[in-house]
Symmetry: D3
Subunit: 319 residues, 6 copies
Amino acid sequence: MQKEIIATAKKIRSLKIQGKSAVRKAVAEALKKSAEKSRAHSILEFRGEIEKAAQELISARPTEPEARTAVRIILKAFSMHSQSLDEVRHETIKAASDYEKNRSEAMKTIAEYGANLIPAHSVVFTHCHSHTVEEILKKAGHKIEYVIATETRPLFQGRITATGLSKAGIKVKMIVDSAASRFMNEADFFMTGADAILSTGAVINKIGTSQISLVAGKEDVPHYVATSSHCFEPMSYYGIPEEIEERPPNEVWNKKLKKLEIKNPAFDITNAHMIKGIITEKGVFSPEAFAMQMYNELGIAGRREEFSSLYKLWHKKEH
Amino acid sequence: MQKEIIATAKKIRSLKIQGKSAVRKAVAEALKKSAEKSRAHSILEFRGEIEKAAQELISARPTEPEARTAVRIILKAFSMHSQSLDEVRHETIKAASDYEKNRSEAMKTIAEYGANLIPAHSVVFTHCHSHTVEEILKKAGHKIEYVIATETRPLFQGRITATGLSKAGIKVKMIVDSAASRFMNEADFFMTGADAILSTGAVINKIGTSQISLVAGKEDVPHYVATSSHCFEPMSYYGIPEEIEERPPNEVWNKKLKKLEIKNPAFDITNAHMIKGIITEKGVFSPEAFAMQMYNELGIAGRREEFSSLYKLWHKKEH
Amino acid sequence: MQKEIIATAKKIRSLKIQGKSAVRKAVAEALKKSAEKSRAHSILEFRGEIEKAAQELISARPTEPEARTAVRIILKAFSMHSQSLDEVRHETIKAASDYEKNRSEAMKTIAEYGANLIPAHSVVFTHCHSHTVEEILKKAGHKIEYVIATETRPLFQGRITATGLSKAGIKVKMIVDSAASRFMNEADFFMTGADAILSTGAVINKIGTSQISLVAGKEDVPHYVATSSHCFEPMSYYGIPEEIEERPPNEVWNKKLKKLEIKNPAFDITNAHMIKGIITEKGVFSPEAFAMQMYNELGIAGRREEFSSLYKLWHKKEH
Amino acid sequence: MQKEIIATAKKIRSLKIQGKSAVRKAVAEALKKSAEKSRAHSILEFRGEIEKAAQELISARPTEPEARTAVRIILKAFSMHSQSLDEVRHETIKAASDYEKNRSEAMKTIAEYGANLIPAHSVVFTHCHSHTVEEILKKAGHKIEYVIATETRPLFQGRITATGLSKAGIKVKMIVDSAASRFMNEADFFMTGADAILSTGAVINKIGTSQISLVAGKEDVPHYVATSSHCFEPMSYYGIPEEIEERPPNEVWNKKLKKLEIKNPAFDITNAHMIKGIITEKGVFSPEAFAMQMYNELGIAGRREEFSSLYKLWHKKEH
Amino acid sequence: MQKEIIATAKKIRSLKIQGKSAVRKAVAEALKKSAEKSRAHSILEFRGEIEKAAQELISARPTEPEARTAVRIILKAFSMHSQSLDEVRHETIKAASDYEKNRSEAMKTIAEYGANLIPAHSVVFTHCHSHTVEEILKKAGHKIEYVIATETRPLFQGRITATGLSKAGIKVKMIVDSAASRFMNEADFFMTGADAILSTGAVINKIGTSQISLVAGKEDVPHYVATSSHCFEPMSYYGIPEEIEERPPNEVWNKKLKKLEIKNPAFDITNAHMIKGIITEKGVFSPEAFAMQMYNELGIAGRREEFSSLYKLWHKKEH
Amino acid sequence: MQKEIIATAKKIRSLKIQGKSAVRKAVAEALKKSAEKSRAHSILEFRGEIEKAAQELISARPTEPEARTAVRIILKAFSMHSQSLDEVRHETIKAASDYEKNRSEAMKTIAEYGANLIPAHSVVFTHCHSHTVEEILKKAGHKIEYVIATETRPLFQGRITATGLSKAGIKVKMIVDSAASRFMNEADFFMTGADAILSTGAVINKIGTSQISLVAGKEDVPHYVATSSHCFEPMSYYGIPEEIEERPPNEVWNKKLKKLEIKNPAFDITNAHMIKGIITEKGVFSPEAFAMQMYNELGIAGRREEFSSLYKLWHKKEH
């Protein structure tokens, strides 16, 4: 394997490259370079190289659906009935280049759709830091009275949200995660990002999202999820559950006690019925309708084999 | 005023003396000493001294109902139809001494009643650190599979809980506050202390309690509150709301940003209908029934004037 | 029977005297006069006269628990072991005079307790017109940002509320009854009066109260009920259901259609668990605790016969 | 011990005597006979005999609070400051005789209170067989359109209900337990008995009660519980949990399979907040208020030792 | 612009033409006439004329999605690759004529599908007046025991419903809007129309609909919405919120008070999860599935520009 | 009609052939034989024969949507533009043969998708006996700690489930139906089959399913429904309600009482919002999304006439 691939995978594994967007970009960039530098002599050999590279990159961080989406879209180049190795290589490089461009156009559209939803004098409650939600809030800035942001333990990503919004001139009220039920009644919207969306419309996001969504539901504050459709997880149609990353205990407390076990799951699952709408670059959908749209768009019904082989790319053994 | 009173009040104000139990003890002790050292020449003068001392001590930390209860019980000595200054002084000193003794006997009874409720192989979810809950859990130790403890931002009192239980040989699973909805379904009980109980049976406790109680309710895990009846707040019958202490923002984040405001309320209110039972030294009550018992026991109906004057002791002006 | 009694009963029946307070006053006044003018020659004869008068007055408007309370308290004079007819007559007149005085002192206390509950910058949602709620809102006037008042079909009593508050300098936002769910999230409190309170803590009030209470519950806005303890209905402990008055259809629509039936119930029942607190002259209670207090205060356990005979006073036949 | 005691205890253990009422009667009767036939020579000896007999009888069926209540009331005779053995014996026999008489008078009152609650044309849903509910339904017979009765697995006690009501001329619609959610919307009331009522107002009754209460709550059908106050369980104030009887698996299925375990709990617990009212001989209470009434009536606050010693009578070792 | 257009727009603005169906018909008719009378000399000129007319008509009543749908369908004629001005004119006139015909066929199908859903002996609760619901109820007339109709303040459209049904021989029970919670348990269905359906499946309808839907949900009465698919609002996919018309305060109360503000919103929004099914001419859908069907049918994914330009037709400036 | 058809129909009617799978197989087999033995001389005559046979078979058990699906798929052969009688016959026989093969392949896929969803150490709650659920549980056997199975009155199908699982080495805990609320909190999943799925995503299944689903919802245990897409009921799009079979009363109790009526509905309806996902051979869907997929796949929009004629095949008269 090429050194660049190994180096990139290493950086992802050690969290030198981290964050949904950064990982995605690095994967696409690495595959593009891999295709450019390939010395393969046949389409088959070339494909083998690229698949191996993809496997190395994805397995470096198994809970990033968007990285998998990037690989899926780039590997599509192989099914384009290209005749020669040069054509295939060209298609692969183009797919990798286009991916990031499409992604950032999607972001603009989501920001516009999301900002449209927010009327003047709104108070928005958010949890953790989502680049997509931040873009929406900035675009809707003049209509926003203030944003309530949780600090988001254990890694305090809420501080990134607060810093970004404050710089953009948007007033932020920061609270501890436990105070959500105390402040929710001030809000007109609860808006979060999503790390993955499943076939039932359920949303995987930072730990705490489902708890605050329950609070929002009790106060009748609608929960909107803003995310690119690239975060949709097609494997969930086949009953393959999304793994929830368990992170190191010392992020919570750097302490050893005889009887103490520290659990630090990174994400939780919010059921579809708790979510009012998913704001994507394709429009604003109910969670179920969005899942349906992806089902039809991805042609899930007839692509079981293809997705399964993709799935095997980054899983040594069945669950 | 005597130096000891001023010194104790100062320590309370600066949090050198902190925690419900420590504040209560310090107040009783200071009043006792104040009575012992008094050089008053008449009952009236003596009473004036003690009331002034009480006012100084209580206003040092206005949101501690139990400290007020201590004062109320000690001041009762004046209504005992004692004939001489010596008798009054004696009664006051005795009331102050007895108070702490009664309080620690109450704790033993609560621990027993609470431990009785817990069957073998139970998992108990708790929030923050409550001395009372810790006593119950230790007493029921052999019947407890493990305790789930939140870290409890911003001051991490959950770590005190974890350390105490671990030392007592009880297994603890610690999580961030946001992960309550992820782990609640493992629990058989949600058990917390209470800083105050109101006339409607509502419970004031550490911020986050009402949010986790909502989660417990969704999972049908009963929420028990363990507390001495000394935490009951009689003024709430007269419609006087309990103030919620707002603590310094730098406990949450030591950062100044142009548009950032940090809110740090110490407590929240959990409604009576969310609470299954209140474990007190008088028995295990539904919240409404407990409030009723206190109403009758304190003779609220006929003591409006007395409580009002007590109330004025530590409040300069009406709300 | 004396002419005054008959005249007063007639005015009540024809709604010339209407409203909980006016009816109550008229009943007490009439009984007082009846006692003053009585020419009875024995205690027995006197008692017969007064009971007959009471029966006439109460049956003129069977769904006014407070009128019944007035009678009950006045009739207590007979059980005071008075020796002579003069003494009995005196006690009766005094009970009737005192009643209204106690009642208006109660109102002042309720207004104070209720106003205490309302913090600065509050928005209060109310339904129909309640003299008690109006007094609370006026007393708390400077702390109230605005009041949301429903128009309250069919008789538009919300307009009385709006006029009264507006005159008192309190901002009012008036809406149709159907718009409650649209505006509830602006409110900090939902506050209503009560026509009667039952043994389970349930509240009988103007039609629409339970519907808006459901809306308030969904938005976590606490429902407080303000009422004198005189509205408590002791007969409900014996399982005797409170009748709901069915009023004339032409209040709703003055129209005859072949297949049209118009139903116009005056009241509905809001369950105890939907109510956060009942503000009375005795304090602020949870509904269940208030019912319990009345149970003990009225000595329900041992007075079954007495209340039953009272009940028979104004009911010809058992249900 | 006397042979009659041993024989009665044996019959209770082997279910030859079964059902709340039958067990209670047998216990009272046996204690009465035991007192009559006693050859004790001192009050102390007599008391020892009676307590031993009580212990034998109660431990034959540990989950019958009413049997324990019978014993508690009968043993009260010893605290009546009687001077001679004859007096004590007389008081004991009288207490045992009176008990059953009071009990059946209570039943009449409950039936009256319960029937009062039911308006004309009502449909009542019931579960299992409760003698008390049957009495209410018979008393209200002419006002009842029909009763929906579950068959009540595993022992089909619903058939007893159906037979009794049918004989009394009341229409019965019988369904399997699983069909409750299908038929609940036809009902105006869900009415059950209770095997025990706890300090929080929670109700222990036949397995299935809490499940159907949930269904009733969803359809807004009020759940009333009819029971004598003798079923109140005072020990629950001390945190002592009521044991739930686990009955033989062959009642469910007389089958042995390698991997099959059959669980057959006889009762479940319905939380206080799911119950609209408890119909007792003292009146119709909210569950919390009823628990409060019993707390005061039994003097729980000051009788901890007494109840504890009673508790030890029928429990060898602490939980 | 042609006089007819201006006259029609004026009538719509002044409510001389009102009601969803009447407005829609008038718009289609006016556009048809406008096309017939046009003296344009080029396709471009003709298109300009028609668009201007459309803009004038729609802006006369901005909250009528069906009028917008009519315009959208009629303007489609321009994209049919017609070669000559005559062909374009012909297509436009035909589209306008066909529109109303399709619309009334849709109504028949909806009535049939809706009536199919209603079993014999049903009680149906409805709010306001919906032509579509009235058609369903008439078609199902023999199976309907009675209809419960709210009067629907402030404009009493419930009286139109009552009159229409009564004439058709269907029994109607009319109540004030506030009495919904009192009568809902008699109903088997809650059935309303819809003014618009959004991308998340949420329904915009007469103020009060969401409140009564909450009541229906509590009583487990399914809420069906009957409406033509022409009421679907495609712009909501782009995050563009539907404006809620605020109507004149004097419809509620013709009174000026110093501190009184009267709010009179015409519509409210009922969330998708509260609605059991949407009865359309395409079948009976869950709200989410219906929104999805429209998404695919309208080709939302690829028509953003087209819809946006349409949107700009009747909005001067962005929200 | 051929004897085989009549014989098969008779066996279905008398429950000699019973169970969703057995009925479906018998119907397909009978139609296949009918086609093989036909002596028809024209396509028209042949079609008449087959339709008559289908009508006879389906009307033998009107509440088996899967049998109707089998017929629908087999009758499709007639619309395949076959030229000769031989071709049509061949297509019909092939369709009947293929049907069962496709069906059993679907089962394998469902079992795989369902088993994928279940993580290690899971406890699964199930109701009644579903062949599909049994397959999933067996496939996931090593990951299952134990299965909780209701006995499922009146016909005890839970015993079939228990026997099958026990034989497959999976631990089973069996309970009466009423004990679901007692044991649900032990479960990670509630998993049932489905007899039919409607256009709104609602599920028709064995009586008790909706009640236990309510219990599962309260405990936040996700309800998954496993079923082949062949159980989807397309007629529900046209508002035609699925009939609920009423079975003989003696299955519940073989007893006649004067006032006793026994109701024995075989199925109930669980609303879409209570179901987390539907596991089909096409993937794991939210109920609404699955209904949408079937709508598009079956081409419901344009096939109203065709489905209606099919519907008339087995229904003499409109509802």
